[in-house]
Symmetry: C2
Subunit: 216 residues, 2 copies
Amino acid sequence: MSNTPQRVPDTKERILDAAEKLFGQNGFTATSLRDITAEAGVNLAAVNYHFQTKESLFEAAIARRMEPVNRRRIELLDAAGANPTLEQILLAFLSPLFVRHPNEAIGLMSQILATPDSFVRQLFKKHLAGVVNRFVEALQQALPNLTRTEILWRLHFTAGSMAHLMARGSVLPEISEGLCNPSDRPAVLARLVTFAAAGFRADAWGGDAGLGGEAA
Amino acid sequence: MSNTPQRVPDTKERILDAAEKLFGQNGFTATSLRDITAEAGVNLAAVNYHFQTKESLFEAAIARRMEPVNRRRIELLDAAGANPTLEQILLAFLSPLFVRHPNEAIGLMSQILATPDSFVRQLFKKHLAGVVNRFVEALQQALPNLTRTEILWRLHFTAGSMAHLMARGSVLPEISEGLCNPSDRPAVLARLVTFAAAGFRADAWGGDAGLGGEAA
DNA sequence: GTATTGCTCATACGTTCGTTTCAATCATAC
DNA sequence: GTATGATTGAAACGAACGTATGAGCAATAC
């Protein structure tokens, strides 16, 4: 059980590949194990042999992509020195998602953020909360005028832009006459950083925003 | 079929209420008709009698909330005159979601944006595309320095922030030590408008954003 | 060789899903 | 009153789901 030979028949990885593709595209509930094994070209029972349950498979797919992403995030944040700029922080947080296996990492990431099941929220805590706190600290240092609350909200907005962007680049092309091409990833990343950085630098909201009792 | 008596037994509305609550919370696939009829306290067959299919019920729930929201959006945009400010445009687009039946309208709205099923994307086109185009025009007028492409991207980011915020205020509290309270809706709306307005006003991205070939 | 272990296969279990059926009910029209 | 047509109820349909089982196969250990 511990250090067995491991013939590397790679069916385990084929399952993970198919799982991250389909989970990322369609979400957890909308993806069946039969979809995954069909995509992977393996037997249905293999998924229960290598991973025990569907939830475990989801977590394994998350872990495989999220761990290198998070490592790279911390790496980039550290490399930016003791006083990173806002853009450096945002790039450290966002750019690892766009590299190497972008479609998959990105899809899974937004599924973590978007799936309301309680076990997925635990995955969020496990794989994301620590990194997020590290970045909140860096943002507080870079933006001393903002309260921690304000920073959390704006990071939340940024994460939403990212998540929305990634899971479904599908929505936008339909209304944009092809002007938005989500597959040009470096450009998308740059646009997102530009947008988010400006949002973070906005003066903190002080009271009324011109609602006039609209949202009472 | 046309002008039948209509005893208003309100079981149809009870189904819609339950549907918009549960669809908004858990999404389309993760919500079963039995969940809905249990929540509504009606018989399972009633949903197939009043609405024919699960997809039709989803669309009916969307339509009931989206139509007044979209009407109010256009109303506010028109009320802002011929040259609305960026904040007026964003408020016109976002504030109707936070009024009256906010949790439900908001949850359904983000489900439209987040569900990859093809029929949901058709709902997006049907209920959202027209309004979105109207707002893109207004934004182009208010921000003449930005290309249409740039505006579409930033509206996309804003929609993502909104969608993420709404469907799952659940994620943030867990890492924010309670500092973010999504139920204080006027404050959330104001923060979102502040963030998005600053993002829209950012200088358009011109070329490189400091990636250094990271996302090659 | 045989034994053992790691893995894959076909198949089936029990449950839940969306949908359907049809008899029972109710308010109104006559 | 009875007839009519709109609604509701209990029960069931076939299909798809996640999971489990046990035989079969390949490779190493002895």
